[in-house]
């Protein structure tokens, strides 16, 4: 190899490294660890992809990966397909029956007369030789991935009866060199599959406890940018930020009420951490707890009438529910000596929370009627569980080879996948509500 060639190679490597530094924002490719034993066989035929979109990831690939990640579907490898229909008339059900495929998805993408992206797609029930769904999506051309996730949502709901949550986003904190003088903390927002991450806010000081408003337009979080914890409200679209509370002591754990009018939070301005509810219209505060112990990590029940929170009033952290009308308090967890940061499932009958068992922290699920506790995760130092808006999965923070990463587990503990990150520690995830992404 000549020396000039070597120089060129080095220059190319340098270029690639710079490219990688720019791309480091997105999380790495998801690793699926576990799914259901019996998965629904579905074939997503490569869509006819307009030449305008030749640089995009094939849409059928995005749809397939969404469905595979749910743990409920086993998409057919395109190499094994006997035919590759893209229109209704090209579909021969016998080609799919012989492969044992139960459902078939075909589609076409192109540009309409106004220059918009148009996606036409169909879903078929192979055994009954029946079209289940025929729909089209029209949106701006930069929403290629959003359109793909929308197709996955519709297919998922048509087959399972549960709304898909693939068109959602996650926010999380990416910490670099935490604790050292050159530490940086970034609040990031990415698609639910970890793609297209962007920074909402970055700071030299810690950021934690990010949560979404129920309309998905705002996020609330805790920032130490002033040298003290403050609760910040930020508009996702405009980036406009407001320091909402800056009382002396702790200002933390902001969580929106289901109707978005109130924000539960923790303030220690009166001496020790207490739960408060702020009315967002007039910024008035109502104090919910009053004692000398730690009360923290509030969240709302499904109708916004009660708060669930962590308290060590019994000596150890346990989860309590307080009715906001009559202030009646009941303890919800009794198994183990550390149960914290609970979230109520949309059915109002089940909790997910952080549970310590033999010194190890896991995410657990509890049936409130039967007091039945099930540990969902097997990783370590698991924390910050956040539910998908369809209630079927939860995202949480864990450790993998000494590094903070995000992982997802289904509510029954059977489906598991990880979202690794090639840089920094990723933590404090919050799954968005259903969003209108198109």
């Amino acid at each position: 190899m000549s020396s000039s060639c070597f120089v060129r190679l080095v220059a190319l490597c340098g270029f690639l490294i710079i490219g990688a530094a720019h791309a480091e924002q997105s999380l790495d490719t998801i690793i699926i660890d576990a799914g259901y034993d019996k998965q629904t066989k579905i074939a997503i035929v490569p869509f006819r992809q307009g030449p305008e979109f030749s640089k995009e990831q094939p849409m059928a690939e995005i749809v397939s990966f969404d469905l595979a990640r749910s743990g409920q579907f086993a998409p057919t490898n395109p190499d094994n397909m006997l035919s590759r229909p893209t229109t209704n008339t090209e579909v021969f059900f016998r080609d799919w029956r012989v492969l044992g495929v139960e459902y078939l998805v075909i589609g076409r993408t192109g540009v309409d007369s106004l220059g918009n992206l148009k996606v036409d797609y169909h879903l078929y029930d192979v055994f009954n030789e029946r079209e289940m769904l025929s729909d089209s999506i029209t949106t701006t051309r930069n929403k290629w991935r959003d359109a793909a996730h929308k197709v996955a949502d519709e297919v998922f709901e048509a087959v399972t009866g549960i709304p898909g949550a693939f068109s959602t986003r996650i926010i999380y904190v990416l910490a670099m060199n935490a604790g050292s003088p050159d530490a940086t903390y970034r609040l990031e927002m990415a698609d639910a599959d970890g793609e297209r991450a962007r920074t909402l806010f970055d700071s030299k000081e810690p950021i934690l406890s990010a949560s979404w408003s129920p309309d998905g337009k705002q996020v609330a979080y805790v920032s130490f940018e002033t040298g003290r914890p403050a609760i910040v409200l930020q508009n996702v679209a405009t980036g406009a930020r407001e320091l909402l509370t800056q009382f002396s002591g702790i200002n933390s754990s902001p969580v929106f009420s289901p109707d978005g009018t109130r924000l539960a939070m923790v303030l220690s301005r009166d001496g020790n951490p207490e739960i408060y509810v702020m009315n967002l219209a007039d910024r008035s505060l109502r104090r919910v707890t009053r004692n000398q112990v730690i009360d923290t990590e509030p969240s709302w029940d499904q109708d916004g009438r009660s708060l669930i929170y962590t308290s060590d009033r019994g000596g150890r952290p346990q989860i309590y529910r307080q009715d906001l009308t009559n202030n009646f308090v009941e303890r919800l967890t009794f198994q183990g000596d550390y149960n914290a940061r609970a979230r109520m499932l949309p059915d109002g009958k089940h909790l997910i929370f952080v549970h310590r068992n033999n010194g190890i922290f896991h995410i657990a699920w509890q049936d409130l009627e039967r007091d039945d506790v099930r540990v969902l995760t097997r990783t370590s130092l698991d924390e910050s569980p956040s539910l998908a808006p369809n209630g079927s999965m939860l995202i949480y923070a864990t450790q993998d080879q000494g590094r903070g990463i995000l992982a997802v587990v289904s509510i029954d503990g059977r489906v598991k996948y990880r979202l690794p990150s090639s840089s920094g520690d990723v933590r404090e995830p919050a799954w968005s509500p259903f969003l209108d992404t198109l």
Binding site: L208, R228, G249, I250, T310
Partner: protein
């Protein structure tokens, strides 16, 4: 740290001005500040008069009457916020320093190891810092001289994930200002 050194110089100048009955409060802004040199811990601060033996150039307190720096970090057991009996003597000396130097204040930072939830740890870190604040007040330090902030598990001293790192991270730190 230049800022802390300048602040200690300002404190000294202010104290000198008050002692001299001088009406002017702030030093000339154009007055060139001497080069802040990092002196070994055992050398007394170069600042003149006032109470030169109480702090080093970074406003770290000396053990009263000596040139040895006073320990400013106090460690806690897992899940606990109780002050270790061995630390009471050092805290007693911090009390003496603060009572003798009412113009300085102290920020008490509370920290936790990474085990447990972040928000509960934020509260636990505050509880640790509060225990020290209460002790200092109980021995006669003015509450106005003390501020408390908890970082929970967000600022580990040691980023490793083992018992030794966790023990180093469960701490409260006194920062004079």
């Amino acid at each position: 740290m230049t800022v802390q050194w300048l602040r200690s110089l300002l404190v000294t100048l202010f104290a000198t001005a008050v002692l001299a009955g001088c009406q002017s409060t702030a030093p000339e802004p154009s007055q060139p500040a001497p080069e802040p040199t990092r002196t070994p811990d055992t050398t007394p601060a170069p600042a003149p008069t006032a109470a030169p033996e109480a702090f080093d150039e970074n406003l770290n307190p000396y053990v009263p009457g000596t040139t040895r720096l006073l320990s400013r970090t106090f460690y806690f057991d897992y899940d606990q916020a109780l002050i270790q009996p061995d630390d009471l003597a050092a805290l007693e000396m911090h009390g003496t320093v603060l009572r003798n130097n009412i113009e300085v204040s102290v920020l008490i930072e509370g920290h936790c190891d990474e085990r447990g939830t972040r928000e509960y740890n934020l509260a636990l870190g505050e509880r640790r810092a509060e225990e020290i604040r209460k002790y200092l007040v109980s021995i006669g330090v003015s509450p106005q001289q003390i501020e408390v902030v908890s970082y929970g598990e967000e600022r580990p001293e040691d980023p490793e994930h083992n018992e030794a790192a966790w023990a180093r991270n469960r701490r409260a730190i006194l920062i004079y200002r």
